[in-house]
């Protein structure tokens, strides 16, 4: 696989096919744990670890697993990595493990992971599966950290635990409560949609300009031939 396609595979998970803002997958942890930026980051990294592990094993075992039982086989692979992550976090990061609670075992049913196993890792080589998992994982982590940061800044007036001047005295408590999760994600998704639309329009405009220039050059060339 060439470097350009690898870069494209990696970047698509972050921007064009961001699992949270564009594909709307893995909504439960996205909304459930993002009361602060640190929690979002921790959940994102835990999910990324599972995603990378399962993508690697699925891609290596794709020729061994019979087609009919592939989904249960994928689920067992994913559940094993979730158990590894769960127990490691309980051992090395007990406070974060406590905060994320139920949502760590629930990484098993995160549609992003099963989705990548089924749609990508079971059809592609080891290297591209690793790149795909890394891209999707970074995109997911980015989205969760962003949402966590927005909710933390508005809801408790802090950024990664550091209190901010004016906001710390006037926190909007709603944003760390459940309704705030829905509202913040709703408006963030709308902002992403808006900027994507602008971006697409800019790309279309540029393509049209290139076509026009090419057409003029072509016409000029033809008339030049005749004269």
């Amino acid at each position: 696989m060439s470097v350009t396609t690898m870069r494209r595979e990696f970047l698509k998970g972050i921007l064009k096919e961001n699992p949270v803002f564009v594909l709307l997958l893995g909504m439960c942890p996205t909304l459930g744990v993002t009361t602060s930026a640190v929690n979002g980051l921790g959940m994102g990294l835990a999910t990324m670890a599972v995603l990378l592990g399962s993508n690697i094993v699925v891609s290596l075992a794709k020729n061994v697993i019979p087609d009919k039982v592939r989904i249960p086989a994928f689920i067992v692979i994913i559940a094993s990595f979730v158990t590894i992550t769960d127990l490691s976090m309980a051992a090395f990061l007990p406070p974060l493990h406590e905060q994320l609670g139920l949502f760590i075992p629930l990484i098993v049913v995160n549609c992003v992971i099963l989705g990548r196993a089924e749609a990508f890792a079971s059809k592609n080589t080891l290297l591209s599966s690793i790149v795909d998992g890394a891209g999707m994982g970074v995109g997911f982590t980015f989205a969760l950290t962003l949402l966590g940061a927005v909710r933390e800044i508005l809801g408790s007036g802090a950024f990664f635990g550091f209190p901010l001047p004016f906001l710390a005295e006037n926190p909007i408590l709603l944003f760390v409560m459940p309704p705030g999760a829905f509202l913040a994600l709703g408006f963030l998704t709308a902002a992403v949609n808006q900027s994507r639309e602008k971006w697409d329009a800019a790309v279309r405009r540029r393509a049209r300009r290139v076509r026009e220039v090419a057409a003029t050059a072509l016409v000029a060339g033809r008339t030049g031939e005749r004269s």
Partner: protein, 190 residues
């Protein structure tokens, strides 16, 4: 009385969708029509209650006596996947009419995190079997209530002129936020 408190707590106060964020995918995915929301809701009530009972028995009859509690995640998800498949096969044979109504929703349920979430919560909270069953029924009723109300709201939204960037998921999330705000009024009820 104790059971009433569990049910009210699960349906209104700690609604699994609106305050615990479980089962958001079907909540956003199948809520554009009231009729599909009802079908999905019925399938969830059925599977969630059965899954909680079965996983509860597995936890206390197999995993705890054998000291295999660390296998809980793997065991529970496999049991739920198998159970969904079994329900599908049995339903197809026994009641084709019900299968027609619920059939398309059953495969989707395996990846519904509410099912696994409630099964784990019921074990974590040290309920006995009867309490766990009541808790599962209450939670699934809470899911149905949230899904039904939300689907009703979204049907009305079809007729509105929504700004371009807000169409689809963003407006659905904001609506869910307002619904969650309304449900947070039940806090302190039990």
């Amino acid at each position: 009385m104790e059971y009433v408190v569990i049910v009210i707590g699960a349906v209104l106060v700690n609604n699994i969708v609106l305050s615990q964020f479980l089962g958001i995918c079907p909540f956003l995915g199948v809520s554009s029509r009231v009729s599909t929301a009802v079908g999905m809701g019925a399938a969830v009530i059925f599977v969630m209650t059965m899954a909680t009972i079965v996983t509860y028995l597995i936890q206390y009859l197999i995993l705890v006596p054998l000291g295999l509690v660390f296998l809980r995640t793997v065991a529970f998800i496999l049991v739920i996947a198998g159970l969904v498949q079994l329900v599908e096969i049995v339903l197809k044979k026994v009641s084709p009419a019900l299968y027609q109504a619920l059939g398309v929703f059953l495969p989707l349920i395996t990846t519904n995190c509410a099912i696994l979430g409630v099964a784990i919560l019921a074990v974590q909270r040290d309920f006995n079997l009867a309490q766990a069953t009541v808790y599962a029924i209450g939670s699934s009723l809470g899911f149905v209530l949230a899904l039904y109300v939300f689907a009703g709201l979204r049907e009305k939204m079809d007729l509105l002129d929504i700004p371009r960037a807000m169409r689809g998921a963003p407006i659905a999330l904001v609506t869910a936020g307002l619904l969650a705000l309304a449900f947070s009024g039940f806090a302190g009820l039990v």
